[in-house]
Symmetry: C2
Subunit: 364 residues, 2 copies
């Protein structure tokens, strides 16, 4: 007889119940409440689905199918842009592969960098003969593997440049900017460099503008709840029901302080104070602002956040240009948000507004 | 002295702690862990932020600012399309106001229908002299208020038609389709009717194609975790850590069964079996499929779901056209997903692919 819950019958599940139990239960005995078939095939099955959905746009390359490239690649005489990083951040990274953006992406496991062989395969896919820019976030593993890939590509005669995005101001002090992690600012670097490459600019020019964005964008994030890495099967961190982690990284890295929940306006005020202390824009400047959900935080709350951002910018006499509000760089189902700012000049603004297309982000 | 948590200092918060406590604590004493300033101003502050961000696209109308309309409205001799519904579902509803889509939207509180006066104001905003289509989801409150608005508009001499979307197959049996709730299928109805109106079709033709979509799209959803309505301050339902609710509605309405978590492939198989039992597509048909996250479920898992959808369609000899995969109709931070199918003919397919633009959804 089926059990009843809340007056509704609970169907007998039989074998399925045991199957799901095996599949969804982690070694620690916790149920991983996610849509999955095999906790260790999460990324590969995700890529299967992606390539089923967008077969006209993407090809899947690399020995184990862990590279996603534009079907149009390599594009002759266009600078190729290759990226890569851990999974679990969609649209980062592979969601920015597309027209006017990136050419290829090496895909790691959830929150784990891609293999060097896949970084090389991504560079090969991106290489149209005008050189390849490696453009990725500043994480140790990614850096090591992209450096190996660079050596290998250069040995083959491919011209290579490298720009690492280090925008998370909570991850290291201003004086050691090169140690900062890459987070939401990567989105701006991808967009601007991608638009420049689309114009058939030289490798030196594409690299130079990517460096300019990487040097001038700044991000800070706030975490409310953790997420669950399917392979691991437990929360990335623990946090009380009334606590937030201010300055948290995109993988749940510890932030600047942990404390009692504050109002949205108080949180945003501190986020902007810290961003402006680091960047120091002036009255009359033009800025693009990215208000990003880390996953579970709904769009509704991003607009409550943006409301305060707009007020503060207006008070400071700074013009907000083309705000980006949505899920641009996530941590699975983590609740939380980040704010990224990018000061603009006329060239950056035009490149930011240039048309681009991926199934994840379309600018007309 | 600041407390320490995990070796990091916890900043003294002083007054803020009490403020947030007042703001974020519900009457039941629970902390509502969200970015908010005032639980009862959630929707209004969200609209403030929205209109700050997209001042060039949207105007805010209605006595209490609860109507969002295209700045371009009213567009002379174009059929106007007005919608409305509860908040908490972004991009549904107001996110579909834009070029090639809808003209105006009446905005209710979280999960609560808009007021009749705002439905009327949305119709006025949409009215360019060629008639107004009311296009919304089949919920009692929305229906009542849009019916009052229709009477009022007709008394003023505005030509009005009405199409309600009733696509949630879990909410009522096939024989009483008119009692079903409107969920993800609304996205298809908005897109197709919006594209038809953009072509300057007559009210009769725009209405007819909206009716065709409303009659032929089908949706089913699965809930994994609840969400918290800020005004209420508690979860919309309770569910065990190893349970799912199959057929759950977009506000947490009870589904067909509640039971133990299954694998993604098992869940998708049952979803498609039930959709196809209701709709019965044939070998050779062309279908668009919308795989939708209810909020917290990450995009990665939507692709794991779509992987199975693509396999099943291929087995059945059905062609998947322009899959839509993302967050199209959400329930705040609820974890879960829905699948919507829409059978296509050449006209529907062309209208679905037609260019459109809102900050939430852009088709080039």
């Amino acid at each position: 007889m089926p059990r009843k819950v809340g007056g509704r019958p609970v169907l007998p599940i039989g074998l399925s119940e045991r199957d799901a139990d095996t599949v969804n239960r982690s070694s620690a005995g916790r149920i991983v409440k996610k849509f999955l078939n095999d906790r260790n095939a999460y990324v590969d099955e995700m890529l299967d689905g992606l390539c089923e959905a967008y077969a006209d746009l993407y090809v899947r390359l690399g020995e184990d199918g862990r590279v996603i490239a534009r079907r149009a690649c390599p594009i002759r005489d266009k600078v190729g842009i290759a990226t890569g990083g851990g999974s679990g951040h969609l649209p980062v990274f592979l969601g920015y592969v597309g027209r006017g953006l990136l050419d290829a992406c090496a895909v790691g496991n959830i929150f784990a960098g891609p293999r060097a062989a896949d970084c090389i395969a991504a560079m090969h896919a991106a290489n149209g003969g005008a050189g390849v820019l490696q453009l990725y976030g500043n994480y140790g593993g990614d850096r090591m593997n992209f450096e190996m890939a660079r050596e290998s590509a250069e040995a083959e005669g491919i011209e290579v440049s490298t720009v690492r995005v280090c925008d998370d101001i909570a991850s290291s002090p201003r004086g050691s900017r090169g140690l900062r992690r890459g987070v939401g600012g990567m989105v701006y670097a991808f967009k601007v460099a991608g638009a420049k490459a689309e114009q058939r600019a030289s490798l030196a020019d594409v690299t130079s503008i990517a460096e300019r964005v990487a040097a001038s964008c700044r991000t800070i994030g706030v975490g409310l709840t953790p997420c669950i890495v399917p392979e691991v099967g437990k929360a990335t961190f623990e946090i009380e029901d009334d606590e937030i982690e201010f300055g948290m990284g995109i993988h749940g890295e510890p932030g600047i302080w942990r404390g009692h929940l504050k109002t949205a306006d108080e949180i945003v005020t501190e986020m902007l104070d810290r961003l402006f202390a680091d960047l120091d824009p002036m009255r009359g400047d033009r800025l693009s602002v990215l208000v990003n959900s880390l996953g579970a935080t709904p769009l509704e709350e991003l607009y409550i956040i943006y409301r305060k951002v707009a007020h503060v910018l207006r008070e400071k006499g700074i013009t907000a240009v083309m705000p980006l509000i949505g899920r641009f760089a996530t941590s699975m189902e983590m609740a939380g948000a980040s704010i990224t700012i990018l000061p603009l000049d006329s060239e950056l603004e035009a490149l930011l507004r240039a048309p681009s297309f991926t199934p994840f982000w379309s600018i007309q």
